[in-house]
Every structure is written in structure tokens, then in C-alpha cells.
């Protein structure tokens, strides 16, 4: 058996994604009981190599590994030797000398986890590479929606925001469309990249068209840099045209679920009223992130050393 990696949902078949979701569902019950650990990865080492700042995803992976009784080690971009000029490969090779079983990588350059998987003898889990994919986020999004709606097939998902720079959006489009959902992406044309439809969605610059009949809406965070690059004129106009508030949400199906990968820009892409509202499943997403990541670590540990 070769090393198992999770580099992107694009590499998995629909069946494999479903299998991971079922696995994640099993891990959810462990999170509910009083002893939250299982001994499955005892003696295994999981290294979190986070070259991009992230508190929530890294904590989620660290906790997931610890709940599986693995030993964990965190390396973050600012503190590591990469700042001193060491290449990513050299950093990873040094870490590989400790024979970790799994390296979880977050990196601002797309393709970095793939490069590592070819050079390092460890399972590589992609915690987000540039704008390419964020597969564990995709899995927890799928898990959360599947639990609420009992299915993915045939539902309508609207993703609104900076699609061009979003790895969360790409993984979501790939994952949800593979499982049979109808996905539409929406945002100002400056934020809709060419050929995005090829990933499995339709596109529109009209918010009400995107929301019409939607079972789930996913709002993406607007980053400050985009305003500086002038992808849109002001936060105010963005919020008016593309933000989600109670009024625009009414255009969706009654009971439409509201998602957001976090952190939220209250008042820009989403109002507090909606983010904290009765159909918001934002906190469930975070909870499910733990189960999804435990499932992924278990799945990757299942590949033998080569």
C-alpha cells in the first residue's frame, strides 16, 4: 500500500467522499461523550506545518490528532527556518527525518502539498494551499449540510463572495457537485474567475438570482486586500449588492441554511442578525470540523509506509 494523501476533493471519487463523510459521522459521537479520546493513532506522529497564519484550522487539526492519541508538533511560518531563507522542501525534509506519519500543510502557494507528497515519505494532508483547495473544509461543509438536510443530491447551494481567491469555494464546488448538488457562484465579475463553471457550477453576478430557491447559502469572507486592489469600490456597495441580510435571505427557500467558513466580517458580507439567526449553521461547521479532521487523519494513517 502506498502513502495515502488528502490533497484535494478533486482527487476523490464521489464514493470516496461519501466514505469519508460516513467515517466523520462515526467520529462525531466520540466528540459528544465524556472520554473524548480513542487510542487509534497512539504512537503515531502528526506534524502541523502551517506556513500561513491560522488559529482555527490549526487548533482543529491539533485537537483531532490528540483525540486520536497521536503525538503532535506544530510548526508555523513565522517561527520556522523558512523565514531564514530555507526552502519549503528543505524544511519538510528536516521534519521528515523525525519520521512523522502525517504532515498537515497549510501554505499560501498552490501546489505546495503536492510537491511535498512527491518528495517526503509521509502522508500529506492539505489544510489549504493558496487558492487551490481546502479539502477538510469541503468535507465539514458537506457533513454539516448532509446532517441537516439528510442528503446532498438535488439541493441548491449558492456560494457568494470572492470566488476567485477562495480555496473554500473551490473545494465546495467540487465536493457538492460531485455528490449531485446544484451549485451557483455569485459575486462581482471581478471576483468570478474564468472557467469556474468547469469545476461544476453556474455563475451569476445577481444576488437574488443566486439565492432564488437555494437550500443552502455559503457566504465568503471579503478580505481587506481586495478593497485595496479595487475589485469593488467600497465595503458599503459590496454589502448592499452582495452581502446577506434578512431581507435578501427571504429570496431563498424558507429555512435556507446559512454557512460561513469564518472568520466573519459582520456588516460586510453578512449581518449579525443572519449570522446568529435560527438557520445559521456556522457553529455546527466548526464542531464538525473536528470530526471531519479526525476521519481524515484516520483515513491517511491507513496507508502503509512505502
Amino acid at each position: 500500500m502506498a502513502r495515502r494523501h488528502l490533497l484535494g476533493l478533486g482527487d476523490l471519487s464521489a464514493g470516496e467522499i461519501v466514505r469519508l463523510l460516513d467515517l466523520a459521522a462515526s467520529f462525531q459521537s466520540i466528540a459528544e461523550r465524556s472520554v473524548k479520546k480513542v487510542p487509534t493513532l497512539r504512537g503515531r506522529a502528526v506534524i502541523n506545518l502551517f506556513m500561513e497564519a491560522s488559529t482555527r484550522t490549526r487548533s482543529s487539526f491539533e485537537l483531532a490528532a490528540k483525540r486520536l492519541s497521536a503525538d503532535t508538533l506544530n510548526i508555523s511560518g513565522g517561527a520556522s527556518s523558512v523565514v531564514k531563507g530555507e526552502t519549503l522542501l528543505d524544511t519538510a525534509r528536516n521534519l521528515a527525518a523525525y519520521r512523522p506519519d502525517i504532515i498537515v500543510v497549510r501554505h499560501r502557494h498552490a501546489g505546495a502539498p503536492l510537491m511535498l507528497s512527491r518528495h517526503i515519505d509521509a502522508s500529506i494532508v492539505n489544510a489549504g494551499d493558496g487558492a487551490r483547495e481546502h479539502p477538510t473544509q469541503g468535507l465539514l461543509d458537506l457533513l454539516t449540510v448532509r446532517q441537516r438536510l439528510r442528503k446532498i443530491e438535488g439541493i441548491k447551494l449558492a456560494i457568494i463572495g470572492d470566488i476567485a481567491h477562495s480555496r473554500v469555494a473551490r473545494s465546495a464546488i467540487i465536493g457538492f457537485s460531485k455528490l449531485g448538488a446544484q451549485v451557483v457562484v455569485c459575486g462581482p465579475s471581478t471576483m468570478l474567475p474564468p472557467g469556474i463553471e468547469m469545476l461544476g457550477c453556474t455563475r451569476t453576478t445577481d444576488r437574488s438570482e443566486a439565492l432564488a430557491g437555494a437550500d443552502v447559502v455559503m457566504m465568503l469572507r471579503i478580505q481587506k486586500e481586495r478593497l485595496a486592489e479595487q475589485l469593488f469600490p467600497t465595503d458599503r456597495e459590496y454589502a448592499q449588492r452582495y452581502g446577506l441580510d434578512a431581507v435578501s435571505l427571504r429570496g431563498a427557500k424558507p429555512g435556507c441554511l446559512v454557512m460561513h467558513p469564518g472568520p466573519i466580517n459582520r456588516g460586510v458580507e453578512i449581518t449579525s442578525e443572519v449570522a446568529d439567526g435560527p438557520t445559521s449553521i456556522i457553529l455546527e461547521q466548526v464542531r464538525n470540523g473536528l470530526a471531519a479532521r479526525m476521519a481524515v487523519l484516520y483515513y491517511c494513517a491507513g496507508g502503509e509506509r512505502s
Partner: protein, 426 residues
Amino acid sequence: MSIDGLRGARVICPASGLDARRDVALQGGRIKGLLPPGTLPDGPGILDVPQSVICPAFVDLHVDFGAPGAEWREGMERGLKAAAMGGFGAIVHTPATHPVNDTAALCGWFGAQSAAAGATRVLPMAALTEGRSGARLTEMFELRDAGAVAFGDERWIADTALLRRAVQYAAAVGRPVFERPEDAGLAGPGVMHEGAVSTRLGLKGIPAAAESIAVFRAVALAEQTGAPIHIGPISAAGSVKIIADAKARGVPVTASVAVANLVWLDTKIAEAFDPVFKISPPLREAADRSALREGVRTGVIDAVSSGHAPWTADEKAVEFDLAKPGMSTLEICLSLLLDRVAEGAFDLTTALAALSAGGWRSLRQPAGRVEIGARADLVVFDPERRTRIDPASRAGRGQNCPADGQAVRGEIQLTLVAGKPAFSTL
């Protein structure tokens, strides 16, 4: 051993239209005779090459050995060996060196590099502006006298007014301006073609418009000033169209394309994020590649260059975003074209013209010819034999040759510069 004659080969001279079997007799660094095949008498310096093709040695318009300033990449000596192995009798070296080639002293240094008899000639391109900074013109007369064959910054000049002045000035100096067409603002931090593939890979893209805007600007300036401008390397269908229209109107422009853009597409990067395929200008879509091949076939694109830019493993074995752009292609340039000939994109004569006559035309110099009295700058190759490309035995030092470890079509057997072998397997 001196080579006095080559017997039995198919001689193709695109400039004169010759395509026939001939025995070629050489003397004093020149072609002494072109005889019916089999008539040249035996002798010590006579080689029989009945399986081969003989044509004028190639000239490459865009080469970068990293010399001076970055010799660890390859350096002049190994670079010239690689060029000779690829059948090139002359190469135009980029001015984007460290220091920049904007002084007569450095320009003269380039020319002196091929003083060694029988080595591939180095034709220096001098910078159009001081330090390639786009602000002040270089002393073009001095540079011309020091050997510069063309002027260009190999970089976007934002000030169009300055570019116009530079183009006008260069015309009076008598050398063409080489314009690398890419609007830097529009290209931005892009690392590959902007399209469905870059979207899928999450990499920033360079839209084709960044090139067509620059191509059109160059065409407009050539038309307005009447000064000759060479535009290249181009990579997009839109650019081919603009140039075709310009030529039809009689605008004095020529164009070139890097061989890689005739071979691969942006989808190649999606296979494995392999930084070897990160090049500038980038690999684009199928429609662009078809238009480029058609451009070579019809002659709208005058020349094919190798685009040779060697990099070490350290500079290439990094994240795609950080890798330096470029491939080592001198040794495989002909082979890549022979594959296209075999696929029917264009015929052999067209390919050989693009490698020689087209380049000379872009330099506004007479083409090398295979005719009596001409300098013996020739390449002899076997178009059918397969050669294995091995990084250890390649002359070039770059670790970024896309054909490493593969067998490619065609084998260069002999490269003659003024009758002396720069490279020989015979």
C-alpha cells in the same frame, strides 16, 4: 580533423529554395561546391552522410546563459556548447544580465566570447534603456559599433513616449528594436496563462490581453515611425492576428515564437504542477497553439527561438509560484520541431527556415545560405534517428529540460561555424 566535404545528404536551403541531394565541398571556411550526389571524390576529410539533412546553421533570437552575473545557471562556455549541440551557429544573448548590457565594454565582451575558432557565435542584444529601467536611452551608436545586433529591454517599458523615441533613434542607428510583448501591469503577479486551468489550480494568471495590448502598441509604433520592430516571443492567437494584419499593411514588423509554445498547453501544468513548464510568456490554450503553428506555417511568424533559460534545481524545485520561469531547450529545439513536422503542422523546409532564415530576417541581416561562396555555417542532422536526452551528458547545465530522460526525434551530427566543427558526432 578538418572537414572538406559532405556526401549524399539532402540539402535544404530555405533562402534559395534548394531542396535536393548534393555533395557539399568545403574550403577555407566557405562552401566551395555543390555537386551532384556521389561525385565528390574520396578524401580524408570527406564524410558520407546519406541519411542526413544539411541546412544553414540555426540562429536563436532569445537565449539567456546567465552570463555575466549568474554563471551558476550555465555560463557562456557551457551555454555555447549546448547551442552547438542544438545546431545553432549563432545565438542572440539577452541584455538582461548582471550587469545589464548597456555599455560598449560589456557588449564587446559578448562578441569576444565566441572568438574561439569554430564556436557558436554570440550576437549581443544591447539594452534599449540604461539599466533596462525604462527611463533613459542607451548610447546606441557606441553599442552598435561594439557589436550589438539589436536593441531591446526584454521587459515592459511603461512610458510609451519613451519607447517611441527609442524606436526612432534605433532606426537611425540601423539596428532593429526587439520588443518582448507583455504589459506588466496587466500581467501582474501571474505565473501561468489566465484561463480555466489557472482557475482550477488556484494560480494567478496572465491574460492573453496583456500580450495583445503590447503587440498592438509595438505595431502602432512601427507603423507610425516606419522603424523596424521585432515582436516576440509571442504566445497567443490574438497576437498572431495583429501581426498578420500589420504585415498585410506593410508595417515593418517581424515576429518570433518560443518552441515550447508550439508543443505544450497550459493543461500540462495541471498534470503535476511541474515548474519546468513555468515559462515566460506562458503556455496557453489549444486555440493559441494552433494559431501559433499556423503562423509559423504561413510565415506570419518569422522565427522560432529556443527561449533557452537554464535554471538550477534549487531555483526550480520550489513551489510553482516561486519558481523562476524558463526551460533548457537549446539541445532539443530541433527535435521538438521535427515532431511538429511529423504531425503535419508545417513542412520541414518551413521549420528549418524558422530556425535560420527567419531569424536573420528579424535581425535585418542576410540569411545564411547553402550556396557556393557562402560561409560554411551549416548543420547536419539525421531527421529519423532518436537521441536519448540525459542530464548528465547534456552540454547545458540547467536542471530544467523537459525532455530529460526521454528519447527525442532527430540527431544533430555536425554543426559547422565558418567551416569548423563547433559540435560533431561524426
